[in-house]
Symmetry: D2
Subunit: 138 residues, 4 copies
């Protein structure tokens, strides 16, 4: 049993959201949120926050919030497609993603999300489809 | 002069592609490529490579290859939108992105890209628009 | 003067929105709207409203509302990209698109839109980028 | 039996592809194609072919070619999402869509497509996801 706990802890410590510093705020399907503080190693070559960081945050919050809602029924959630439009670069402070599930189907959930900077200004908007599938272990 | 070199080195060391381990292979607009080795800290909670890593690779190669082509005219390149469809999870080995510029306009470049695993099987396909704008310093 | 009127009328009579029956409701960038009544010749082979009709409505309202806002500055508006996710088929009644400009830039406008059926239920959500360019004749 | 034929004919005559003039060329998943001749009633207000016509053609060819491949297994095919990037306006002649199924899964097919003008120049590129579901009547 403790092995399982250790294994879980290790997995958590190793995963990508830990690497970039994702802070989990809410997995409410009507207002799911994650946040992240800027760090130098999140920049692209011109010094802006790399768009891939924003795409990662969007995918993380949509996947995690879908999974939180469907896991009790023995289902898993996995990104199927993501579309992000970048509006305003982020150069300091942080980023917050707010996402809302617009469709909660049996096989797919469809999300709209926006990325805001520390002043609450929109920096990107996104649409993401999460596939919902039976869990192999469930 | 050495200050500039140091500054550049520092910027390079700090940026997001260094963090995730992007290897630059080609910035040829007809066959631009980056590659990356799997590491535990690139996983999402179920152990697969996080989709955000793939989105990051796509954005990095499209942005860098556009910039390589337009920088001599004093232009900068910045991600405007990205769309990624995930086909097959990556659980080990690595990922390679191959991208082709389908349109090379005055204000935008439009790219198609695919992500392959180590066996050459498609794991994601993507479309990305890069905005081309005058460089403030040019 | 009457020649201009006639010319305009002819253009209007010939264009695609006339063919499908688009009804123009509002070009307010915060709540732009078009509507359309179902007809048999808008169906796809299974009898549902063809997704292309919905994509057309989204593009029409976003383009027209952008043009309404920028034409006084001598600018034209043209679709650059569209992304539509279909949620619920429409089989009768009608469709209404409601769109909101999330970014109003010098060179691009970025819209979010949703398509509702007659009962107000979401049938599709969309994101559309409109390019804003100088008018040749302005 | 003749009633069925008549019913089919009526459905065909009524549907959206008949209205816009889609010509069916190939439903080969590796090279599916449709074509269309320009007509005045396919224009948008500035005289170009309406982007919605191109989105319609992409959706028609991807849906029809998926259905052709899965119908024998009692499955139906329905558009789930479409993303079109417009490159070059079409003002005369015609449009041809060429599409290739990049993923042929149990629940979704994923297509890449391009729209060419009469000179073979790319006018749009697209990505489309088609949902594959059991047919109610199968």
């Amino acid at each position: 049993m403790s092995a399982v706990v250790n294994e879980d802890a290790e997995v958590k410590a190793a995963h990508f959201d830990e690497l970039i510093g994702t802070e989990w705020i809410s997995s409410d399907p009507d207002d799911a949120r994650v946040r992240l503080r800027f760090r130098d190693d999140l920049r692209q070559p011109f010094g802006l926050m790399h768009g891939g960081v924003l795409s990662t945050l969007v995918e993380s919050v949509c996947s995690a919030a879908t999974f939180a809602a469907v896991s009790e029924q023995g289902m898993a959630a996995m990104g199927q497609s993501i579309e992000v439009s970048f509006i305003r670069p982020i150069t300091e402070g942080g980023a917050e993603v707010r996402a809302k599930a617009r469709h909660r189907g049996r096989t797919t959930w469809l999300w709209q999300a926006e990325v805001l900077n520390d002043e609450g200004k929109p920096c990107a908007i996104a649409k993401m489809t999460i596939a919902v599938r039976p869990r192999p272990d469930a």
